[in-house]
């Protein structure tokens, strides 16, 4: 049983190991806090934010090791596919994570989300061909929607009483209307240039997106001192 407000920190382990370690070392002690960061679009801004709030981020980001400990070994960082971050955090494989609200809502994962972060702004929007933008939305009995966000798209149309046929794609969703696969798309719109290039315009906003800090529900209680420390540091710089 634990009587302290936080769990004992395995202060040895990672820090000591660094000297003689090799990249093939597979099993290591788990750092007290595991922080999942998204690869891709949000990676650099996320790292920069953590740098600014004084959470030392490992410099050797190109290492092939999967878990990168910070200097004192108190936090381990893992770079994950953005879509995996909510899953890692819900299961407690990671305690804390950064991801986009689009990914979080689409995943439906049950996590705490204490802070929104000042980057990764964009819209998840419904877009359609610019000659007849919202005709399908208003009048088609069963509009076909191409999207990477089947859950959010289905919910958006269901709420409006529209029985949409949601066609899940994993990329280049704009091709849907171009190729006649779909009447509309639901996708992330940042500048709108991709839409314009494909003869599409934004019709409705499904979700205003920005990056969000998420925390595992159990870790929030069991590692409250460390987690609150991270939240405070991040809050101070946003």
């Amino acid at each position: 049983m634990i009587n302290d407000a936080t769990l004992p920190l395995p202060s040895d382990g990672i820090a000591q190991k660094q000297a003689g370690e090799t990249e093939s070392e597979a099993v290591e002690a788990r750092p007290p806090i595991l922080f999942a960061l998204p690869k891709g679009r949000l990676a650099d801004v996320s790292l920069e934010l953590l740098e600014r709030c004084g959470l030392s981020v490992p410099t050797d980001m190109n290492s092939r090791k999967l878990v990168l400990p910070n200097r004192d070994g108190s936090i381990g960082f893992v770079m994950a596919k953005p879509w995996d971050v909510p899953t890692l955090v819900e299961y407690g494989a990671a305690d804390v994570g950064i991801c986009g609200l689009d990914v979080l809502r689409e995943s439906g994962r049950q996590v705490h989300e204490p802070l929104r972060l000042p980057f990764g702004y964009c819209n998840l929007s419904v877009a359609g061909p610019k000659d007849r933008p919202d005709t399908p939305l208003r009048y088609a009995s069963q509009p076909r929607i191409a999207t990477k966000y089947p859950r959010l798209a289905a919910e958006f149309f269901r709420k409006r009483g529209v029985n949409a046929e949601v066609i899940g794609l994993s990329g280049s969703v704009e091709l849907g209307p171009v190729l006649g696969l779909a009447d509309l798309i639901v996708d992330i719109v940042e500048t709108g240039s991709t839409l314009r290039a494909n003869g599409l315009v934004e019709i409705r906003t499904v979700l205003e997106v920005q990056a969000v800090l998420i925390v595992n529900r159990a870790a929030y209680q069991l590692k409250s001192r460390e987690i609150q420390g991270i939240i405070e540091r991040v809050r101070a710089v946003i």
Partner: protein, 418 residues
């Protein structure tokens, strides 16, 4: 289809099944020692009974099907409602309080996740007819004991009192949309969502302060949290909730469990079901809660005279998973443990000795396939049995596996020690 099993169920066998059976047996034995009687409700019953107070989410997860007479049945998705039905309909005139303990599988149409398939196991207790804080404290203490009996070293009970929040909602007089927004912000511990709520909702300064204070009302320093919550109490429901919580904490102190308890007045996930304390059991190795419970004074009235009630349900699968991780083990797939494989040569005297060892609790398998000694030794080696006993006229000779895996005969007294 032949040979496949449906998504969400599993075959447990050998060591895994044994651990599961032993854990539930230990938990039931613990419940009995605390004076909780056994109860085995049916695996399916009328869907209406099981839905008596089920949330929309739980209702959507129930396996329903039609009886031959057209009535809708459902597999039990939890034990509390069936036990409450039993007490409400058949035991309402038996002296109170009544205590029940159970263990068994429940069924929910969910996406399988860590330690939870569509058929998963629960073990828990319910106490009826006791409204006093001592009853809540006993259930908390028994939860701590059960987690310890299950072999968990590190865990916490996160304790809330749902009436503090429901009292706050009543005091704020919100529209349904506004109260949904506040609930959502509190459930997800979202500071920006709470800020949005405060910006968009007209509140008096006193009300505003009470809402702003909510996120801070958690932690292991129980007197501080209660005192801070008291400062922002807006009505008698909120004050009574804190008074009740204070009394329960005092009673829990006598059980010496306060070190395992963290207070969180924003733990409101089961608003609408629980009517007093609600709590979750957490362990650092498991990202999901291992058990949950609380006071539900409104449930029994669906089936008979109203009775206050408090209980807890632990997830057996999650207990096993967390215990395994705390012990640093991976899932073990081993054949059933045996103390020896025995060749009796169909001698009555040999069989008699086997029976006396079995009576002492040793696990002995008698060879029935006509294997001779060398075949039996090979079979023992394959199935990881450390000892073979062969009857040689008047006595057994033991062949024990040596370090190199070969079996060597050892004359003299038979022993089953490793």
């Amino acid at each position: 289809m032949q040979g496949q099993i449906p998504f969400g169920v599993a075959d447990y066998f050998w060591e895994e099944a044994l651990q599961r059976q032993e854990l539930t047996a230990n938990l039931l034995a613990t419940f009995r020692r605390w004076g909780y009687g056994d109860v085995i409700p049916p695996a399916f019953e009328y869907a209406d009974s099981l839905s008596a107070q089920a949330s929309a989410g739980l209702q959507a997860e129930m396996y329903r099907f039609l009886d031959r007479d057209g009535k809708t049945l459902a597999l039990r998705p939890e034990f509390t409602t069936p036990v409450a039905r039993l007490v409400g309909t058949r035991l309402h005139d038996w002296p109170m309080p009544q205590r029940f303990g159970y263990a068994g599988s429940v069924f929910r149409y969910v996406d399988p996740q860590a330690g939870r398939q569509r058929e998963f196991w629960q073990a828990g207790v319910e106490m009826f007819g006791a409204a006093a804080p001592d009853a809540d404290a006993e259930v908390l203490a028994l939860t701590v004991e059960a987690m310890t009996v299950a072999g968990l070293r590190d865990f916490r009970i996160v304790l809330g009192q749902i009436r503090y929040f429901s009292g706050l909602l009543a005091a704020l007089q919100l529209t349904p949309d506004q109260s949904d927004a506040l609930r959502w912000a509190i459930e997800r511990k979202s500071e920006p969502a709470l800020a949005d709520f405060l910006r968009e909702t007209p509140l008096s300064s006193e009300q505003r302060l009470a809402v702003e204070a909510l996120p801070g009302l958690s932690g292991g320093d129980i007197p501080r949290v209660i005192a801070q919550a008291q400062r922002h109490s807006l009505n008698s429901e909120m004050s009574q909730a804190l008074e009740n919580l204070r009394a329960i904490v005092d009673a829990a102190a006598s059980h010496d469990i306060l070190g395992s308890i963290v207070l969180d007045l924003t733990e409101i996930r089961s608003l609408g079901y629980y009517t007093g304390i609600s709590f979750e059991a957490l362990a650092p190795e498991s990202g999901f809660s291992i058990g949950s419970g609380g006071r539900y004074d409104d449930l029994v009235a669906h089936f008979g005279p109203a009775q206050p009630a408090v209980g807890v349900a632990l997830g057996v699968d999650r207990l096993l998973l967390a215990r395994q991780r705390q012990a640093g083990q991976s899932a073990s797939i081993q054949p059933a443990r045996l103390d020896a494989l025995v060749l009796t040569g169909n001698s009555p005297a040999a069989m008699k000795e086997v029976q006396s060892w079995r009576a002492q609790g040793y696990r002995l398998q008698v060879e029935v396939n006509g294997r001779n000694l060398s075949e039996a030794l090979a079979y023992a080696a394959q199935t990881d049995v450390g000892q073979v006993l062969a009857w040689e006229g008047t006595q057994f000779v033991a062949y024990r596996a040596a370090a190199d895996g070969d079996f060597v005969p050892s004359r003299g007294e038979i022993s089953f020690d490793d």
